[in-house]
């Protein structure tokens, strides 16, 4: 066998393997989605959105869990989003070259990949023990802490994409930095910042571990932020591991709901950037 032939064979085999690796990755995405769709749709009904989580063997839906997830995600992003945006603004504008920013960026990156169960423990020690009971508010705070580093990162990246000339032009007209940032730079980076917020929402709406011992769960309808509240991830966790078929079915339906909404959020976020660019102009 000539050396040249051998090299060609090695080339083909290696490239074939890399194609195979991609096929494996896509296969698992397909397999997971297929399982979710086939098992989740079996339980789709109006009751899913109108009835409360049932006792074992009874019939019911996920209304209280859906409400709880929405409420905690919204409060979480309302708490975490502004903090993340302001901190991102500091990194990109006021503290762009400050030595402190290097440290903050590093800490933020660590927080970005820190295990979410740690955040749950932190909020448990910080809020749940002090308040003496589990609460939806504690769950929302835990979600906010997870949303902050995501928002900081995307806000900074998006603000950095705004051309320096726009800042200079605004400054030359006598505007203070806060005026430049709020009237010129934020609008210019709007769709990028919105994308970052969407991604943060997608991230926190599927989080389970930080809610396990902050919001806990609630079998009944509750809108009290100061009390335990049902939420989709924890309901899925409890119901899937239960021996009752009706609970397991609800877990699959809940899993389908949550995955579809997250995939739609992520795809929307990508489309916003692809269609409009970071600045929002075509």
């Amino acid at each position: 066998m000539s050396r040249r032939f051998l090299r060609k064979v090695i080339n083909l085999v290696a490239l074939g393997l890399s194609g195979l690796a991609t096929a494996i990755g896509l296969f698992f995405l397909g397999a997971i989605l297929w399982t979710l769709l086939s098992r989740g749709f079996a339980g789709m009904s109006a009751a899913l959105f109108t009835a409360m989580t049932p006792p074992p063997g009874g019939s019911g839906g996920l209304l209280n869990a859906i409400y709880g997830s929405l409420a905690m995600t919204v409060i979480g992003i309302l708490l975490g989003g502004p903090v993340g945006m302001l901190a991102g603004t500091y990194l990109a504008e006021y503290g762009r070259n400050a030595r402190l920013s290097v440290v903050i960026r590093f800490v933020n990156d660590v927080l970005l990949s820190a295990p979410s169960i740690i955040v749950g423990l932190f909020v448990y020690e910080l809020l749940v023990i002090r308040m003496g009971h589990f609460s939806a508010l504690a769950g929302a705070v835990a979600l906010a802490i997870i949303a902050i580093p995501v928002t900081v990162r995307t806000t900074e990246d998006m603000l950095n994409l705004v051309p320096q000339g726009m800042r200079d032009a605004s400054t030359a007209m006598g505007a203070y930095p806060w005026r430049t940032i709020t009237s010129v730079i934020y609008p210019a980076a709007r769709s990028g910042i919105v994308t970052g917020l969407l991604l943060a929402i997608a991230r926190i709406s599927g989080e389970t571990a930080p809610l396990l011992f902050t919001a806990l769960n609630n079998q009944f309808w509750s809108t009290n932020l100061n009390a335990p509240m049902a939420n989709l991830p924890v309901v899925i966790f409890q119901f899937a591991l239960s021996p009752y078929p009706n609970w397991q079915q609800l877990a699959w339906s809940g899993a389908l709901l949550i995955t579809l909404s997250i995939l739609i959020l992520s795809i929307t976020a990508r489309l916003v950037v692809a269609r409009l660019g970071p600045g929002g102009q075509r």
Binding site: R7, I10, N11, A14, L15, L17, G19, L20, A21, T22, I24, G25, F28, L29, A31, I32, T35, L36, V83, M85, L86, A87, Y90, Y94, G95, L100, S101, V103, I104, F106, V110, A114, P115, S116, I117, I118, V119, L121, F122, Y124, E125, I148, V152, Y176, P177, W178, A202, S205, G206, E207, T208, A209, L212, P233, F237, A240, L241, T259, S266, R270
Partner: protein, 322 residues
């Protein structure tokens, strides 16, 4: 002083005040991010203190985890965490590199974006979904088809065989490792793809100009150039695997023991916390679980910090070469 100047100076004062308030707000938010990490560390240490003071070093060296006798040791959980993560990396590294190579060097332009997005979507799927999928779909398949084969063929071999003995449970350390691998692949391949794309075309073209095959250019030009970034990406994946909770909790079996077989049930730090925390009675039990959390924080912090430093160095190199 005439009126116009008075209004002007009042206006300027108002602007200055708002400027000070806005810049202070951004600064405080940035400081909050900084204190968050320190706050997490201190809080965990505070909560873990009773257990650490009670067991001292035994907490790290003991395998016993017995809520009835109030004996708690972290060794089994640490072992499970490390072994599942290593299995995950062993599977995920070659697959992720394959995907990154396919996306940067092989795929035609029309295929690049959809495949890249599909892999990224895999990263967006919440971990609990991987958990129930692993428990209800993957574990039965492994139990019926894969594990009996492993036990029959590798089991009798010396040394390696000990890892694949015992009954096929379906759930266990190996299953958890495989589920983790599926979760880690999108992260590692996304980073690897990004660093592969930083390789200057001139370098690749000179490789091709010398008559190298595509694979030779990848292996001898692209990979060495991107090594630091790749290792950074792999460590990020490791950080994720170490701390992953829900996916593992479903399929690990939750047994505080160190078995020689990978097919046996075990536990990880995060799975133990997720499973037992709300049911823990007694201060020592709760504190021991928080101590596990502190240990996990320490391990992942070291791994993530190392990964970020590597990626940071790479960024600086890329900037200075421009």
């Amino acid at each position: 002083m005439n009126t116009a100047a008075a209004i002007d100076s009042r206006h300027a004062a108002g602007q200055r005040l708002r400027e000070r308030m806005f810049s202070a707000a951004t600064f405080v938010a940035a400081l909050l991010v900084l204190t968050l990490l320190g706050g997490v560390a201190l809080t965990l240490l505070h909560g873990a203190w009773p257990a650490l003071a009670h067991f001292k070093l035994r907490f790290l060296t003991s395998e016993v985890w017995n809520p009835v006798t109030d004996q708690f040791g972290a060794l089994a959980a640490v072992y499970g965490t490390l072994v599942t993560s290593l299995i995950a990396l062993a599977i995920a590294i070659p697959v992720s590199l394959g995907i990154a190579i396919f996306l940067t060097e092989l795929a035609p332009a029309w295929l690049k974006r959809p495949v890249g997005i599909a892999i990224e979507l895999l990263a967006a799927v919440p971990s609990i979904i991987f958990g129930i999928w692993g428990l209800f779909v993957l574990a039965p398949i492994l139990q019926r088809h894969v594990q009996p084969w492993l036990i029959d063929t590798i089991g009798p071999l010396p040394i390696v065989g000990r890892l694949f003995q015992g009954p096929p449970f379906g759930i266990g350390i190996l299953t958890a490792g495989i589920v983790l691998a599926i979760m880690v692949v999108p992260f590692v391949s996304a980073v690897a793809r990004d660093v592969f794309e930083t390789v200057p075309d001139v370098l690749k073209e000179s490789g091709y100009g010398l008559g190298a095959t595509t694979w030779e250019v990848i292996w001898q030009v692209v990979v060495p150039y991107a090594r630091t970034g790749m290792i950074g990406g792999i460590m990020l994946g490791l950080g994720r695997a170490l701390g992953e909770t829900m996916a593992v909790t479903f399929v690990i079996g939750n047994a505080h023991r160190i078995g020689s077989s990978l097919l046996a049930p075990g536990t990880t730090i995060s799975a133990a916390i997720a499973n037992e925390f709300t049911e823990a009675v007694g201060d020592l039990y709760t504190s021991s679980l928080v101590a596990l959390g502190a240990l996990l924080f320490l391990i992942t912090f070291a791994v993530i910090a190392a990964a970020r430093l590597m990626l940071l160095r790479l960024e600086r190199r890329a900037l200075s070469s421009v």
